[in-house]
Protein backbone atom coordinates (compact mmCIF):
# COMPACT_ATOMS: atom_id res chain seq x y z
CA UNK A 1 0.00 0.00 0.00
CA UNK A 2 1.58 3.26 -1.07
CA UNK A 3 -0.42 5.33 1.40
CA UNK A 4 0.30 4.48 4.98
CA UNK A 5 -2.71 3.46 7.11
CA UNK A 6 -2.18 6.54 9.20
CA UNK A 7 -2.59 8.78 6.17
CA UNK A 8 -5.71 6.89 5.15
CA UNK A 9 -6.99 7.11 8.70
CA UNK A 10 -6.65 10.88 8.75
CA UNK A 11 -8.14 11.06 5.28
CA UNK A 12 -11.18 8.99 6.17
CA UNK A 13 -11.60 10.26 9.72
CA UNK A 14 -10.09 13.70 9.78
CA UNK A 15 -9.71 15.18 13.20
CA UNK A 16 -10.54 18.80 13.80
CA UNK A 17 -11.84 19.64 10.37
CA UNK A 18 -13.73 22.89 10.40
CA UNK A 19 -13.53 26.62 10.97
CA UNK A 20 -13.30 29.08 13.79
CA UNK A 21 -14.24 32.73 13.79
CA UNK A 22 -11.43 34.47 11.98
CA UNK A 23 -12.24 37.81 13.52
CA UNK A 24 -12.00 36.56 17.10
CA UNK A 25 -9.02 37.97 18.92
CA UNK A 26 -7.92 34.69 20.38
CA UNK A 27 -7.92 32.95 16.98
CA UNK A 28 -4.89 32.84 14.70
CA UNK A 29 -5.47 31.91 11.04
CA UNK A 30 -2.87 30.76 8.56
CA UNK A 31 -3.67 30.25 4.88
CA UNK A 32 -0.98 28.76 2.65
CA UNK A 33 -0.79 27.19 -0.78
CA UNK A 34 1.52 25.12 -3.00
CA UNK A 35 1.26 26.27 -6.65
CA UNK A 36 2.76 23.16 -8.25
CA UNK A 37 0.00 20.89 -7.04
CA UNK A 38 -2.66 23.48 -6.29
CA UNK A 39 -3.09 22.50 -2.62
CA UNK A 40 -4.65 25.13 -0.37
CA UNK A 41 -4.50 24.79 3.40
CA UNK A 42 -6.16 26.81 6.18
CA UNK A 43 -5.14 26.17 9.78
CA UNK A 44 -6.56 27.97 12.80
CA UNK A 45 -5.57 27.99 16.47
CA UNK A 46 -7.39 29.25 19.55
CA UNK A 47 -5.04 30.42 22.25
CA UNK A 48 -6.01 30.99 25.88
CA UNK A 49 -4.71 33.70 28.22
CA UNK A 50 -1.73 31.64 29.32
CA UNK A 51 -0.53 31.23 25.76
CA UNK A 52 -1.62 27.62 25.38
CA UNK A 53 -3.39 26.37 22.28
CA UNK A 54 -6.74 25.03 23.41
CA UNK A 55 -8.27 24.30 20.03
CA UNK A 56 -7.10 23.85 16.48
CA UNK A 57 -9.02 23.42 13.25
CA UNK A 58 -8.08 22.91 9.62
CA UNK A 59 -9.59 23.00 6.14
CA UNK A 60 -7.52 21.61 3.32
CA UNK A 61 -8.24 21.27 -0.38
CA UNK A 62 -5.69 18.93 -1.84
CA UNK A 63 -4.38 15.41 -1.92
CA UNK A 64 -4.71 12.83 0.83
CA UNK A 65 -1.25 13.50 2.21
CA UNK A 66 -1.96 17.23 2.53
CA UNK A 67 -5.20 16.56 4.38
CA UNK A 68 -3.48 14.06 6.65
CA UNK A 69 -0.58 16.38 7.40
CA UNK A 70 -2.80 19.27 8.39
CA UNK A 71 -5.10 16.97 10.37
CA UNK A 72 -2.17 15.53 12.28
CA UNK A 73 -0.78 19.00 12.88
CA UNK A 74 -4.00 20.19 14.53
CA UNK A 75 -4.01 17.12 16.76
CA UNK A 76 -0.46 17.75 17.76
CA UNK A 77 -0.98 21.46 18.42
CA UNK A 78 -3.63 21.06 21.08
CA UNK A 79 -2.19 21.65 24.54
CA UNK A 80 1.07 23.08 23.26
CA UNK A 81 2.34 26.54 23.98
CA UNK A 82 2.91 28.94 21.10
CA UNK A 83 6.67 28.54 21.43
CA UNK A 84 6.37 24.77 21.28
CA UNK A 85 4.04 25.05 18.30
CA UNK A 86 6.58 27.21 16.51
CA UNK A 87 9.10 24.42 16.79
CA UNK A 88 7.00 21.90 14.90
CA UNK A 89 9.05 20.58 12.03
CA UNK A 90 7.63 19.17 8.83
CA UNK A 91 9.98 16.20 9.17
CA UNK A 92 8.17 15.07 12.29
CA UNK A 93 4.85 15.08 10.45
CA UNK A 94 6.36 13.31 7.43
CA UNK A 95 7.95 10.69 9.62
CA UNK A 96 4.79 10.02 11.62
CA UNK A 97 2.76 9.63 8.42
CA UNK A 98 5.52 7.73 6.60
CA UNK A 99 5.12 10.06 3.63
CA UNK A 100 6.86 9.03 0.39
CA UNK A 101 9.37 11.56 -1.02
CA UNK A 102 6.87 12.86 -3.61
CA UNK A 103 4.55 13.97 -0.80
CA UNK A 104 7.05 15.54 1.58
CA UNK A 105 6.06 18.99 0.36
CA UNK A 106 2.62 18.44 1.91
CA UNK A 107 4.21 18.31 5.35
CA UNK A 108 6.19 21.45 4.54
CA UNK A 109 2.93 23.17 3.69
CA UNK A 110 1.47 22.10 7.05
CA UNK A 111 4.48 23.52 8.88
CA UNK A 112 4.08 26.79 6.94
CA UNK A 113 0.40 26.88 7.86
CA UNK A 114 1.16 26.46 11.57
CA UNK A 115 3.74 29.25 11.47
CA UNK A 116 1.36 31.51 9.57
CA UNK A 117 -1.39 30.90 12.17
CA UNK A 118 0.99 31.70 15.02
CA UNK A 119 2.12 34.87 13.29
CA UNK A 120 -1.45 35.95 12.67
CA UNK A 121 -2.36 35.47 16.37
CA UNK A 122 0.75 37.32 17.51
CA UNK A 123 -0.04 40.21 15.24
CA UNK A 124 -3.56 40.48 16.64
CA UNK A 125 -2.49 40.08 20.26
CA UNK A 126 0.73 42.02 20.45
CA UNK A 127 0.99 44.97 22.88
CA UNK A 128 0.36 48.36 21.17
CA UNK A 129 4.05 49.21 20.87
CA UNK A 130 4.82 45.79 19.58
CA UNK A 131 1.92 46.06 17.14
CA UNK A 132 3.54 49.03 15.41
CA UNK A 133 6.81 47.12 15.14
CA UNK A 134 5.06 43.97 13.97
CA UNK A 135 3.11 45.86 11.29
CA UNK A 136 6.33 47.35 9.92
CA UNK A 137 7.86 43.92 9.83
CA UNK A 138 4.82 42.54 7.98
CA UNK A 139 4.97 45.21 5.31
CA UNK A 140 8.46 44.23 4.29
CA UNK A 141 7.58 40.59 3.91
CA UNK A 142 6.31 38.81 0.88
CA UNK A 143 2.89 37.48 1.70
CA UNK A 144 2.30 33.80 1.53
Amino acid sequence: MPYNEKVLDHFNNPRNMGSMDKAARDVGTGIVGAPECGDVMKLQIKVDDSGVITEAKFKTFGCGAAIAASSLATEWLKGKTLDQAGELKNTELAHELALPPVKIHCSVLAEDAVKAAIEDWKRKNAAPAETALATEEMQGKTKT
Binding site: I31, V32, G33, A34, P35, E36, C37, G38, V40, K42, K59, F61, T142, K143, T144
Partner: protein, 211 residues
Amino acid sequence: MEDNTNKAVLTKCTHCKHEMSQPLLCDHCETLNPLPSFMDFFQLMGLPRRFEIDLKTLHEKYITLSRHSHPDFHAEDEPDVMALAMTVAAAVNEAYRTLSDPIRRAGYLLELLGGPASAQDKSVPGGFLNTMLMLQEELEDARVAADAAAKARLKQVLLTQRDGLLKSVERLFADLEAAAACEATRQQQLHEIREQLNAVSFVRKSLSQLE
Protein backbone atom coordinates in the same frame (compact mmCIF):
# COMPACT_ATOMS: atom_id res chain seq x y z
CA MET B 1 15.53 45.25 -26.38
CA GLU B 2 17.34 42.77 -28.59
CA ASP B 3 15.68 41.55 -31.71
CA ASN B 4 15.32 37.85 -31.29
CA THR B 5 13.94 36.87 -34.66
CA ASN B 6 15.51 33.95 -36.41
CA LYS B 7 17.65 36.18 -38.59
CA ALA B 8 20.29 36.01 -35.89
CA VAL B 9 20.48 32.23 -35.88
CA LEU B 10 21.52 30.97 -39.26
CA THR B 11 23.03 27.53 -39.33
CA LYS B 12 25.00 25.67 -41.93
CA CYS B 13 23.73 22.43 -43.38
CA THR B 14 25.67 19.51 -41.91
CA HIS B 15 25.57 17.79 -45.27
CA CYS B 16 26.36 20.35 -47.97
CA LYS B 17 27.55 23.23 -45.74
CA HIS B 18 25.28 25.79 -47.39
CA GLU B 19 23.66 28.35 -45.13
CA MET B 20 20.06 27.51 -44.32
CA SER B 21 17.35 30.16 -44.36
CA GLN B 22 15.39 28.23 -41.73
CA PRO B 23 16.13 25.35 -39.41
CA LEU B 24 15.61 21.68 -40.22
CA LEU B 25 15.40 21.28 -44.00
CA CYS B 26 18.28 22.49 -46.13
CA ASP B 27 17.13 24.63 -49.10
CA HIS B 28 20.01 23.37 -51.15
CA CYS B 29 20.28 19.62 -50.66
CA GLU B 30 17.02 18.92 -48.78
CA THR B 31 18.78 16.98 -46.03
CA LEU B 32 17.09 16.96 -42.64
CA ASN B 33 19.35 18.70 -40.14
CA PRO B 34 19.45 18.23 -36.39
CA LEU B 35 18.34 21.11 -34.19
CA PRO B 36 21.12 23.30 -32.86
CA SER B 37 21.14 22.92 -29.09
CA PHE B 38 21.12 26.65 -28.44
CA MET B 39 17.87 27.21 -30.26
CA ASP B 40 14.87 28.01 -28.09
CA PHE B 41 11.27 27.45 -29.12
CA PHE B 42 10.76 31.01 -30.36
CA GLN B 43 13.81 30.79 -32.57
CA LEU B 44 12.73 27.40 -33.85
CA MET B 45 9.40 28.84 -34.91
CA GLY B 46 11.06 31.94 -36.28
CA LEU B 47 9.06 34.20 -33.99
CA PRO B 48 10.20 37.13 -31.80
CA ARG B 49 10.74 36.32 -28.14
CA ARG B 50 7.64 38.06 -26.79
CA PHE B 51 4.60 37.01 -24.86
CA GLU B 52 2.22 38.40 -27.42
CA ILE B 53 1.99 35.99 -30.33
CA ASP B 54 0.05 35.62 -33.56
CA LEU B 55 -1.51 32.18 -33.15
CA LYS B 56 -2.32 31.87 -36.82
CA THR B 57 1.29 32.51 -37.87
CA LEU B 58 2.48 30.12 -35.18
CA HIS B 59 0.22 27.38 -36.50
CA GLU B 60 1.36 27.92 -40.09
CA LYS B 61 5.01 27.69 -39.09
CA TYR B 62 4.28 24.60 -37.06
CA ILE B 63 2.70 22.87 -40.04
CA THR B 64 5.61 23.79 -42.30
CA LEU B 65 8.17 22.47 -39.81
CA SER B 66 6.08 19.34 -39.33
CA ARG B 67 6.04 18.68 -43.04
CA HIS B 68 9.81 18.87 -43.03
CA SER B 69 10.44 16.71 -40.02
CA HIS B 70 7.57 14.28 -39.53
CA PRO B 71 8.75 10.65 -39.61
CA ASP B 72 6.01 9.79 -42.14
CA PHE B 73 7.90 11.75 -44.77
CA HIS B 74 11.17 10.06 -43.99
CA ALA B 75 9.88 6.49 -43.91
CA GLU B 76 12.03 5.54 -46.89
CA ASP B 77 15.23 7.18 -45.64
CA GLU B 78 18.23 5.70 -43.89
CA PRO B 79 17.62 4.56 -40.30
CA ASP B 80 19.72 7.35 -38.81
CA VAL B 81 17.76 9.97 -40.73
CA MET B 82 14.53 8.36 -39.54
CA ALA B 83 15.78 8.47 -35.95
CA LEU B 84 16.73 12.12 -36.38
CA ALA B 85 13.30 12.90 -37.79
CA MET B 86 11.72 11.42 -34.66
CA THR B 87 13.64 13.62 -32.22
CA VAL B 88 13.33 16.73 -34.37
CA ALA B 89 9.59 16.24 -34.84
CA ALA B 90 9.22 15.69 -31.08
CA ALA B 91 11.00 19.01 -30.46
CA VAL B 92 8.78 20.77 -33.00
CA ASN B 93 5.68 19.37 -31.31
CA GLU B 94 6.96 20.44 -27.90
CA ALA B 95 7.65 23.94 -29.19
CA TYR B 96 4.15 24.26 -30.59
CA ARG B 97 2.56 22.83 -27.47
CA THR B 98 4.40 25.31 -25.27
CA LEU B 99 3.92 28.41 -27.37
CA SER B 100 0.30 27.87 -28.37
CA ASP B 101 -1.00 27.80 -24.80
CA PRO B 102 -0.74 31.20 -23.03
CA ILE B 103 -0.07 29.73 -19.59
CA ARG B 104 2.67 27.41 -20.82
CA ARG B 105 4.09 30.17 -23.00
CA ALA B 106 4.24 32.53 -20.05
CA GLY B 107 6.04 30.01 -17.85
CA TYR B 108 8.50 29.21 -20.62
CA LEU B 109 9.22 32.83 -21.41
CA LEU B 110 9.66 33.64 -17.75
CA GLU B 111 12.24 30.88 -17.50
CA LEU B 112 14.07 32.15 -20.60
CA LEU B 113 14.22 35.61 -19.09
CA GLY B 114 15.77 34.26 -15.90
CA GLY B 115 12.68 34.54 -13.72
CA PRO B 116 11.98 32.28 -10.71
CA ALA B 117 10.31 28.88 -10.97
CA SER B 118 7.27 28.14 -8.78
CA ALA B 119 9.42 25.91 -6.57
CA GLN B 120 11.65 28.87 -5.77
CA ASP B 121 8.96 31.49 -5.40
CA LYS B 122 5.61 30.32 -4.06
CA SER B 123 4.06 33.71 -3.55
CA VAL B 124 0.63 34.67 -4.78
CA PRO B 125 -1.11 38.05 -4.94
CA GLY B 126 -2.40 39.30 -1.56
CA GLY B 127 -5.73 37.82 -0.46
CA PHE B 128 -5.74 35.37 -3.35
CA LEU B 129 -5.52 32.24 -1.22
CA ASN B 130 -8.40 33.45 0.90
CA THR B 131 -10.50 33.82 -2.23
CA MET B 132 -9.48 30.34 -3.41
CA LEU B 133 -10.38 28.85 -0.07
CA MET B 134 -13.84 30.38 -0.16
CA LEU B 135 -14.36 29.22 -3.72
CA GLN B 136 -13.27 25.72 -2.80
CA GLU B 137 -15.70 25.63 0.11
CA GLU B 138 -18.53 26.79 -2.15
CA LEU B 139 -17.54 24.18 -4.70
CA GLU B 140 -17.62 21.47 -2.09
CA ASP B 141 -21.06 22.53 -0.95
CA ALA B 142 -22.27 22.54 -4.54
CA ARG B 143 -20.81 19.09 -5.13
CA VAL B 144 -22.38 17.61 -2.02
CA ALA B 145 -25.75 19.16 -2.86
CA ALA B 146 -25.37 18.12 -6.52
CA ASP B 147 -26.26 21.68 -7.41
CA ALA B 148 -25.48 21.92 -11.12
CA ALA B 149 -26.43 25.59 -11.34
CA ALA B 150 -24.07 26.53 -8.52
CA LYS B 151 -21.29 24.51 -10.15
CA ALA B 152 -21.83 26.27 -13.44
CA ARG B 153 -21.76 29.65 -11.75
CA LEU B 154 -18.56 28.82 -9.89
CA LYS B 155 -16.99 27.55 -13.10
CA GLN B 156 -17.73 30.92 -14.64
CA VAL B 157 -16.15 32.67 -11.65
CA LEU B 158 -13.01 30.59 -12.04
CA LEU B 159 -12.84 31.19 -15.78
CA THR B 160 -13.20 34.92 -15.25
CA GLN B 161 -10.45 34.77 -12.66
CA ARG B 162 -8.17 32.87 -14.98
CA ASP B 163 -8.75 35.32 -17.82
CA GLY B 164 -8.11 38.22 -15.48
CA LEU B 165 -4.85 36.75 -14.32
CA LEU B 166 -3.75 36.11 -17.90
CA LYS B 167 -4.54 39.70 -18.77
CA SER B 168 -2.27 40.80 -15.91
CA VAL B 169 0.47 38.51 -17.15
CA GLU B 170 0.11 39.95 -20.63
CA ARG B 171 0.38 43.47 -19.29
CA LEU B 172 3.36 42.66 -17.09
CA PHE B 173 5.26 41.12 -19.99
CA ALA B 174 4.47 44.14 -22.15
CA ASP B 175 5.85 46.43 -19.43
CA LEU B 176 8.94 44.25 -19.17
CA GLU B 177 9.51 44.27 -22.90
CA ALA B 178 8.83 47.98 -23.29
CA ALA B 179 11.19 49.70 -20.90
CA ALA B 180 14.87 48.93 -20.50
CA ALA B 181 14.66 48.91 -16.72
CA CYS B 182 17.35 48.63 -14.07
CA GLU B 183 18.06 45.20 -12.71
CA ALA B 184 16.15 45.65 -9.44
CA THR B 185 12.98 46.71 -11.26
CA ARG B 186 13.39 43.86 -13.70
CA GLN B 187 13.66 41.30 -10.89
CA GLN B 188 10.54 42.77 -9.32
CA GLN B 189 8.65 42.50 -12.59
CA LEU B 190 9.72 38.89 -13.05
CA HIS B 191 8.65 38.15 -9.49
CA GLU B 192 5.21 39.66 -10.11
CA ILE B 193 4.74 37.57 -13.21
CA ARG B 194 5.61 34.50 -11.14
CA GLU B 195 3.02 35.53 -8.57
CA GLN B 196 0.32 35.75 -11.22
CA LEU B 197 1.32 32.43 -12.75
CA ASN B 198 1.22 30.73 -9.36
CA ALA B 199 -2.31 32.03 -8.91
CA VAL B 200 -3.23 30.63 -12.33
CA SER B 201 -2.04 27.17 -11.19
CA PHE B 202 -4.55 27.16 -8.37
CA VAL B 203 -7.38 28.30 -10.60
CA ARG B 204 -6.50 25.69 -13.20
CA LYS B 205 -6.47 22.93 -10.59
CA SER B 206 -9.94 23.93 -9.41
CA LEU B 207 -11.23 24.04 -12.98
CA SER B 208 -9.89 20.58 -13.75
CA GLN B 209 -11.65 19.21 -10.68
CA LEU B 210 -14.91 20.57 -11.98
CA GLU B 211 -14.83 18.32 -15.06
